[in-house]
């Protein structure tokens, strides 16, 4: 706390100094976020009757439009929130960078957030909800003009308060070959290279123990994006050179494999109609700053971004049995061997016009999503560890989902959302537990605008499930007293699960927002399970307690 206060004091002094030295082109700003929970009861013993909080202060300074500086101080006081990696501790400086940009050239030293293409070969970003901050500590240089963008990145990956053992090196280039506003036609191609150098030898042991595979693992990627009028198409392919595979915390010299990724996207976007289809195949694409991170709970030093391509839902019961992408090689036992995933996702959007029979006075929006993901088909051997896959073979199904959402506005003051989804979840293959689950979820979400800036939202949900934990119901009420102050209550009940005493989870709370600040407080019992944002998930144990959060930008 003392370090935290000292650091902030320095920044406050800097602000005062800057303001007094004020030049119109300089700018000091930032954000502050704090989430604290008093854990009354907890699945994890050491959090029982404990207070924990995660705090982030981010400060940026722009000088003369060419220079910018960024610093972030994080404080986990007295301890981090549960479900976050052990490496998040105490108060420390987590991000520090200096940037310079002029005439198309750019240089960054310090913490680097970068993405090549869609992130399939490299993405470094921060997600506080998930406890992810895999920024590269090193340097970046960039050059860009209207037709060409070239980026070079090199350094170590951030892992909590430490950095990865392996070094990461990346080069990305993007060329705009066609760019016509008249015909709305563009063609962009990109080529990338990402290398991770990690020497796993143990020279202190005699005779020295080493691994036979190369210390340097390479990813070569090519991508193309094409669009003409209402049509668009994108394809990306990655080739990964041979790499040792971590299983049960061990890397064996005789289980060394290449990897690959293929993704194809095609779509049509017309007025009132949108269609999108994505195919993706990933084989042995886990890629970390440290090889042994594979299979670890938090996967902190992930270099590439391989999210689940399924629809991200926002309702409590739709977030039970969520699919996590399976890009890795995992051989936990002879009856469960995986080398990656293959599958597709399709989206359809349609706007039923106002004044038609189904559109009504205000129109109706419809969206349909289908997705299906399978293991790679092929020959698998547990002893010795080996596999050989078929390129377009679909193996054991992991997950599939079909969902239909209707948004309907009935009057100026009343609207609702209907959502129905049908889901298959192979718990054995995805979560490496037991069972297969078929379930359906129905949600009706109603919004009523009342007088004097007040509004009410009522939401009812039901999950139909003959397998696993059987049926659930849930409902939620949210009342907005005005545009600033809201209160809510929601509950979900696993009413057919007599084995576990019909578990019930609930939460009630209030929030106050004013300009760019938000304060909220809540109390309740939260279901344990996967918390997912952007297709990446983190396991959060069940708890009961009092939470607060403060969030401001300045």
């Amino acid at each position: 706390m003392i370090i935290f206060r000292k650091s902030v004091s320095i920044f406050v002094l800097l602000i005062i100094f800057t303001e007094s030295y004020s030049q119109k082109k300089s700018n000091f700003y930032g954000s502050f976020e704090s989430t604290g929970i008093y854990y009354q009861e907890n699945e994890v013993d050491n959090y029982n009757e404990e207070f924990a909080s995660n705090n982030y202060l981010n400060l940026k300074y722009i000088f003369n439009s060419n220079w910018s500086f960024e610093a972030q101080i994080e404080s986990y006081s007295p301890i981090r929130l549960q479900g976050y990696s052990d490496s998040f501790e105490k108060t420390h400086l987590s991000t520090l960078s200096i940037n310079y940009k002029k005439n198309g050239f750019g240089f960054t030293f310090g913490s680097i957030y970068e993405q090549f293409g869609t992130g399939l070969s490299l993405r470094t970003w921060e997600d506080r909800e998930l406890g992810i901050n895999n920024s590269i500590l090193g340097m970046r240089s960039t050059y860009e003009n209207d037709r060409v963008t070239i980026k070079f990145v090199g350094g170590w990956q951030k892992k909590g308060r430490q950095i990865s053992v392996g070094k990461v090196l990346g080069l990305d280039s993007e060329f705009t070959l066609l760019d016509s506003d008249e015909t709305y036609q563009n063609l962009i191609i990109g080529l990338s290279y990402v290398g991770r150098f990690e020497n796993l030898a143990f020279p202190d042991i005699f005779p020295p123990v080493g691994y036979e595979f190369n210390d340097l693992t390479n990813l070569f990627s090519g991508r193309v994006d094409y669009a003409k009028n209402d049509f668009y198409f994108a394809y990306e392919q990655i080739y990964k050179t041979e790499d040792g595979i971590a299983q049960f915390g061990l890397i064996l010299n005789d289980f060394v494999k290449k990897g690959s990724a293929h993704t194809m996207n095609i779509g049509i976007a017309k007025s009132g109609f949108g269609f999108d289809f994505t195919f993706r195949r990933l084989e042995n694409m886990g890629f970390y700053g440290d090889r042994f991170e594979q299979g670890e709970l938090y996967g902190e030093s992930t270099i590439n971004y391989l999210p689940a391509l399924t629809k991200q839902h926002d309702y409590l019961l739709t977030n039970i049995n969520i699919y996590e992408s399976q890009p890795y090689v995992s051989f936990p036992d002879p009856s469960l061997m995986k080398a990656g995933e293959i599958g597709f996702q399709m989206d359809l959007y349609y706007d039923i016009e106002e004044g038609t029979f189904f559109g009504g006075k205000y129109g109706t929006s419809l969206s349909l999503n289908l997705s299906s993901w399978n293991n790679l088909d092929g020959k698998y051997s547990y002893n010795p560890l080996d596999y050989e896959t078929n390129f377009l073979g679909f193996g054991q199904k992991y997950f599939s989902e079909q969902s239909l959402e209707l948004r309907k506005k009935w009057s100026d003051n009343f609207s609702n959302i209907f959502l129905f989804l049908n889901k298959y979840y192979n718990k054995r293959y995805v979560a490496e537990k037991f069972g297969e689950i078929n379930s359906q979820v129905l949600v009706v979400d109603n919004t009523i605008k009342l007088k004097n800036k007040k509004s009410l939202r009522l939401e009812v949900q039901h999950l139909f499930n003959k397998d696993d934990m059987k049926n659930w119901y849930g409902f939620g009420v949210e009342y907005n007293f005005n545009y600033n102050f809201s209160g809510y209550y929601n509950t979900i009940v696993n009413y057919q699960n007599t084995d576990d005493g019909k578990p019930r989870y609930y939460s009630f709370g209030a929030s106050y927002s004013k300009n760019s600040s938000r304060f909220s407080v809540s109390y309740g019992k939260q279901r344990g399970g996967l918390l997912c944002y952007g297709g990446i998930c983190r396991y959060v144990p069940e708890f009961k307690g009092l939470s607060f959060s403060i969030n401001t930008s300045f």
């Binding site: 206060r5 902030v8 406050v12 602000i15 303001e19 700018n27 000091f28 700003y29 930032g30 954000s31 502050f32 704090s34 604290g36 008093y38 207070f51 909080s53 439009s65 007295p78 869609t118 992130g119 993405r123 970003w125 860009e144 963008t149 705009t176 709305y184 563009n186 669009a227 668009y232 996207n265 779509g267 049509i268 976007a269 009132g272 949108g274 269609f275 999108d276 999210p307 991200q312 989206d347 359809l348 959007y349 706007d351 929006s365 969206s367 948004r407 605008k449 800036k453 509004s455 545009y483 300009n515 760019s516 938000r518 952007g534 297709g535 607060f548 403060i550 401001t552 930008s553 300045f554």
Partner: protein, 164 residues
Amino acid sequence: MLMLKNILAFSVIIVFSLQINAQENVPNVDLRTIGGKSLKSIDILNNEGFSIISFWATWCIPCINELDAINDLYDSWNEKYNIKVVAVSTDDARSKKRVRPMVSGKNWAFDVYVDTNQEFKRSLNVSGIPHTIVVYGSKIIHRRIGYTPGEEKDLLNIISKYNQ
């Protein structure tokens, strides 16, 4: 509980002492159109008038509620004031491909851009969405977190007051 008090007190001091140094201008960083074309954040704004920047994502229900509500009023807003609405999608690689068909399917009348690795979002210190920023030229005149039904009407009041 002493720690809780400390953190709360400390947070409140930070929030209020730093509000006086509010970010004044929209930073100039890279964005892309939904067609994939690269451009600068300054170029998406209305140089001579008001812009409303709305950070959203295809999976964020209140964000879509806000943009649907703005879309219903967009024509009448433009009759009164010269307002440009720019919806900046923060969808990453997982859901980015859903942006263009969804925008077409919804027939939104305003411009939509993508901020795939959230550089623009980060440069404006936006942590949660929906987050809406009202801008005159490139000067930030108002920002807010969250959306409650009807709140879009308040944005027009802010613009109207500033215009006086």
